[in-house]
């Protein structure tokens, strides 16, 4: 919107990166939730026509694999196959609630857009998502708040049973060790018919780790958006 206010000369300057811009990015990520973990994060720089996901569209098989089990390998293959650049697992493992990783350096090369995903645990198929954010051509520090999305690929039964492979019902793990175990809950009936990527409705949980409907704890595992903060410094 602000570009409309720029004089013609500024538009010319903004167009220059299209013919050979290279941006050095310094990225930090913070988990804003009360009690959820993020699986290894994927950061991708790519062209305008590449998306790891799009809300309102069906998840790709590669996205489903990430959202249900945290595996980013197929998304990496897709991005790099399209000539994009990636940073994989910058926090060297899970990101606990409240934790940050900073100083993540990335050369976006000739790529114009930035995306970021990671699975939220413990959930069936929730992920944090940034979809094709146009990398600013003006040096500066930009703060982005990310929502939690539902991949729309798995019913949110809230049963922790170790299942992380695509198509398997259930939740791989509660890394904080604060969920019910081995499916003690009877399971939440997920009546959602939305099989497209959408804003996650949040988890229900209950307060009984040894029973109830859910293996999640409503006092620990609920969230409201945003769930992650990403600060990108364009040098």
């Amino acid at each position: 919107m602000a570009h409309k206010l720029l004089p013609a000369g500024a538009l010319l300057t903004a167009a220059l990166p299209l013919i050979g811009h290279s941006a050095e990015l310094d990225i930090s990520i913070t988990n804003l939730t009360h009690g959820n973990h993020f699986t290894p994060v994927l950061i991708a720089a790519h062209g305008a026509d590449v998306h790891l996901f799009q809300s309102g569209e069906m998840a790709t098989a590669a996205l489903q694999k990430m959202a249900e089990g945290g595996a980013i390998d197929e998304l990496v293959t897709q991005v790099e196959g399209a000539g994009g650049a990636t940073v994989q697992n910058p926090a060297a493992g899970l990101m606990a609630a409240g934790s940050s990783v900073s100083g993540v350096l990335m050369n976006s090369g000739s790529q114009t857009h930035l995306s970021l995903v990671a699975m939220v645990l413990p959930t069936n198929d929730a992920f944090i998502g940034l979809d094709a954010w146009p990398i600013p051509t003006e040096a500066g520090t930009y703060t982005l708040y990310l929502n939690a999305y539902d991949a729309g690929t798995e019913a949110n039964d809230e049963i922790i049973n170790g299942a992380g492979a695509p198509g398997q019902p259930g939740i791989p793990a509660a890394p904080g060790g604060n969920g019910g175990s081995n499916g003690n809950g009877t399971g939440v009936a997920d009546g959602s018919g939305n099989d497209k990527v959408h804003i996650h409705p949040g988890v229900l949980g209950d307060t009984d780790p040894n029973g109830g409907t859910s293996d999640l704890d409503s006092r620990i595992h609920r969230w409201l958006n945003p769930v992650a903060r990403v600060v990108v410094t364009v040098k």
């Binding site: 009360h34 409240g98 940050s100 229900l204 006092r219 969230w223 409201l224 958006n225 769930v227």
Partner: protein
């Protein structure tokens, strides 16, 4: 603005000098220049409570140096912030180093209502602006602005923000009787004990008795989602 009186006095000296050439006996005594007038800037801040049933504690609008942060996500809350988040008491920021003005709302800001606060500062004090208020039907939920840059705002310009609710992380969200100071309970405000994660984070929302939290004094109407406040900051002078 400060250069204007100086130029005037230089001009006066020059005129006096000319006068001295023609008649040095009648030279008037030199008047001391008037003290330079301090330029002021004024800001009008309008806050709207967007929640269903979470009154906000009296707003605290805080002007401060931009190296002051009233909270940091992922870090433990200061006692001053804990007082806001648990009891709606913002007085702990009055004496904080780097704070140069605090303007408070007239009282609780009920759901659906708006309040406009006025802040006038000497120009060289204009730097960062923060806002704090408690969602009073929570254990330790608060909202606000954290060090917004107002130094670069042009006269007549305005910025509108929507704000999320934070959890101070200083008191467990038990929602239990006697633990919430707002009208849903009338319970305890500040308690120095810290029995939660002890880091500021985005509030996960309240559960309520209607959604299965046994012993909660809250009902479905006390649930909220982000954003919880709408704020417009306008520089008027």
């Amino acid at each position: 603005m400060n250069t204007l009186p100086m130029k005037t006095s230089l001009l006066a000296l020059a005129l006096l000098g000319l006068g001295a050439c023609s008649d040095s006996d009648n030279m008037a005594p030199i008047e001391p220049p008037p003290p330079p007038q301090v330029a002021m800037q004024s800001f009008e801040v309008t806050v709207t409570n967007l929640t269903a049933n979470q009154p906000m504690s009296p707003l605290a609008l805080i002007s401060h140096d931009d190296n002051v942060k009233l909270w940091q996500i992922g870090e433990s809350a200061s006692v001053a912030l804990e007082q806001v988040a648990e009891a709606g008491n913002s007085s702990g920021f009055d004496s904080l180093s780097g704070v140069n003005a605090v303007v408070r709302g007239a009282g609780m800001l009920p759901p659906g209502m708006s309040e406009t606060l006025m802040l006038t500062l000497e120009e060289d004090k204009v730097d960062a602006l923060s806002l704090l208020t408690m969602l009073v039907n929570t254990n330790d939920g608060f909202s606000g602005i954290n060090a917004m840059d107002i130094d670069s705002m042009e006269k007549g310009s305005a910025k509108t923000l929507t704000l999320m609710a934070y959890d101070a992380g200083t008191e467990a969200n038990s929602e239990a009787k006697g633990s919430i100071p707002g009208p849903a309970d009338g319970g305890e405000g500040f308690n120095a004990a810290r029995d939660d994660v002890n880091r500021v984070h985005v509030h996960p929302g309240v559960i309520s008795q209607d959604d299965g939290l046994t012993g909660s004094v809250l009902n479905a109407s006390h649930r909220f989602d982000n954003p919880v406040l709408k704020v417009t900051v306008r520089r008027t002078e």
